[in-house]
Amino acid sequence: MAENILLIEDSESHARALQLYLERSGVTVVVGRTLDEMMFKRRAKEFDILLINPFLNGQSICSHIKEAKQYNKLLQVIVLCLKKNLDQAMDEVGTHAINFLEIPVSSKALNLAIMHARKCISNEQRISIYSERLADLEHDRTLYHQLFNQVPCYISIQNQDLRLIGGNSLFQKDFGNAIGEYCYEIYKHRTSSCPTCPVMKTFSDGKSHSTEEVVTALSGQQYHVLTQTAPIFDDNGEITQVMEISTDITKIRQLQGHLSSLGLMLGSMSHGVKGMLTALDGGIYQLESGLKNNNPERIDNAFELIKQMADRIKKMVLEILYYAKSRKLEYKSVDVVKLVETVISTVSNLARKNCVQIEAEIPESLGEFDIDSNWLQSALINLAENAVEACKYDTVRTKSHLVKFILWEDEKKRVCLSIKDNGMGIAQETREKMFTLFFTSKGSQGTGLGLFIANHVVQQHGGNISVESTLGEGTTFKVCLPRKKHEDSLAPFTRMMVQI
């Protein structure tokens, strides 16, 4: 390396001698005789070594040396001065200079000083490169740490024993600080490793593997996850750790379940729908021909049939719509007694037609409760219709059939409604399945959705339905509902979806 040396000395002959001497060893030397002339503060950056006599014309310029160092931190300063000034120079310049040489300068001392300066320069350059790299590393480390933590997946690092040795933020949030624990204990609450462990496969073949699992978080919440693994190599290329990345696909699975059961439902209902549409066609035909031939009896019958079909189609479409759309309940404060009276009056027509009597034991007032009246009302109507139909299909024709509604408030301040019929009763087997999707005991008359939805709507409201029944004697449905809005109103539906 050829250094640039700035030499400042007021004795021209001395400066010249030094310059010649130094240039012989291959360095570039610029000579200045006054401080001002060289304006070395501005040019300080151009030089590596400053060789300076700080007592130009008898005046101290020591403070300027410090300034020069501020402009060029790598500048190495060697002070030259007469013996009598040496002490003062050391006092004033101090550690800003690496060497203090006495004039006349001995060539040996000068050589050593220059060599020392070189060493200092290269050390300082190295340090500055290292610290730059260190800053870069620190920056990268922060960046990667951030990436690792911010990835919206569960990332864990595991060793050969399947013990967790690291996890990202999301993992720690949902599964706790589980460092040192076994992976299968934390994710799946198992006591031994999973039968098809992708991490073990990766340890043995160094490739990425994937599985689909259901894991249980600290909160008890279950997640469907797609788990993928990747090997982590040490300096010798050995796999010492495996990274496991689990992506939450619960929502996708739910949607798939939802869609497939919707498809199943539409398939199973299409027969009924087609029958209804054909009957509706029939009604329209009979109405048309009745009008043409002026046959009032046919017109009446046709109109009755069309009404009936329109009702059934409407009901079925609403049930499909309810099922097709997982909706939030719209709570409103509703008068309890009024709601129940609406339910009773809705089914009284059906009851009258089938010679079923209706009785009601309803207090004058039971105040209000917070419900989605659209859905709760149709759920209750569904239960009431079932009661009337249980009488309608009862084979014991001699019985006088009765549906009795009782409304009260229980000890937990819940609103309770029981609907009791003396119809055909429900067999044990039917009772177990009656709230499941697509189950129907009514053949082509039922969709298998009514009770499923009724039960679900009541659960969404935080209430419950219970059934008591004796075959041949009758059935009692009891619905209990809290008066205040149920907070976790959406959860039961999604949970039910997963079970399908």
């Binding site: 299409s270 027969h271 009924g272 729908v273 087609k274 029958g275 549409l277 054909t278 009957a279 509706l280 066609d281 029939g282 009604g283 035909y285 009979q286 021909s289 046919r298 049939l305 079909m309 053949g443 082509s444």
Partner: protein
């Protein structure tokens, strides 16, 4: 007057077919399941039969098999009217297969073609 036997478990659809066919000059008889249908076929010797496939108990194809084993009835033309899709293969010898809800005029023209 030509007579048509209607086999369907849905009373509303039976009523519809009875009105439609009688209005168009056919005599009708009805049955609501397979056994009932076979009895009516033997009794009335209809000139044509409309048959639903999905009925409680035994299904339409069984009706057709038993019908074709009866020498007197085996040549009676059968029109399948059902809510099942892809019902063309259920009874391959049926003269036609209509799916519910069916087209009135189409049914009438098929009957006209097949009733001798």
């Amino acid at each position: 007057m030509k007579k048509i036997l209607i086999v369907d478990d849905d009373p509303n659809i039976r009523d519809y077919l009875v009105s439609l066919l009688e209005d168009n000059g056919y005599a009708t008889c009805t049955a609501n399941d397979v056994q009932d249908g076979l009895r009516a076929a033997k009794e009335h010797k209809p000139d044509l039969i409309t048959l639903d496939l999905e009925m409680p108990g035994e299904w339409g194809p069984r009706f057709y098999r038993q019908l074709s084993q009866d020498n007197e009835l085996k040549n009676t033309p059968v029109i399948v009217i059902s809510g099942q899709s892809g019902n063309d293969y259920a009874i391959s010898k049926a003269v036609a297969s209509l799916s519910k809800p069916f087209d009135r005029d189409e049914l009438l023209s098929i009957i006209k073609e097949n009733i001798i």
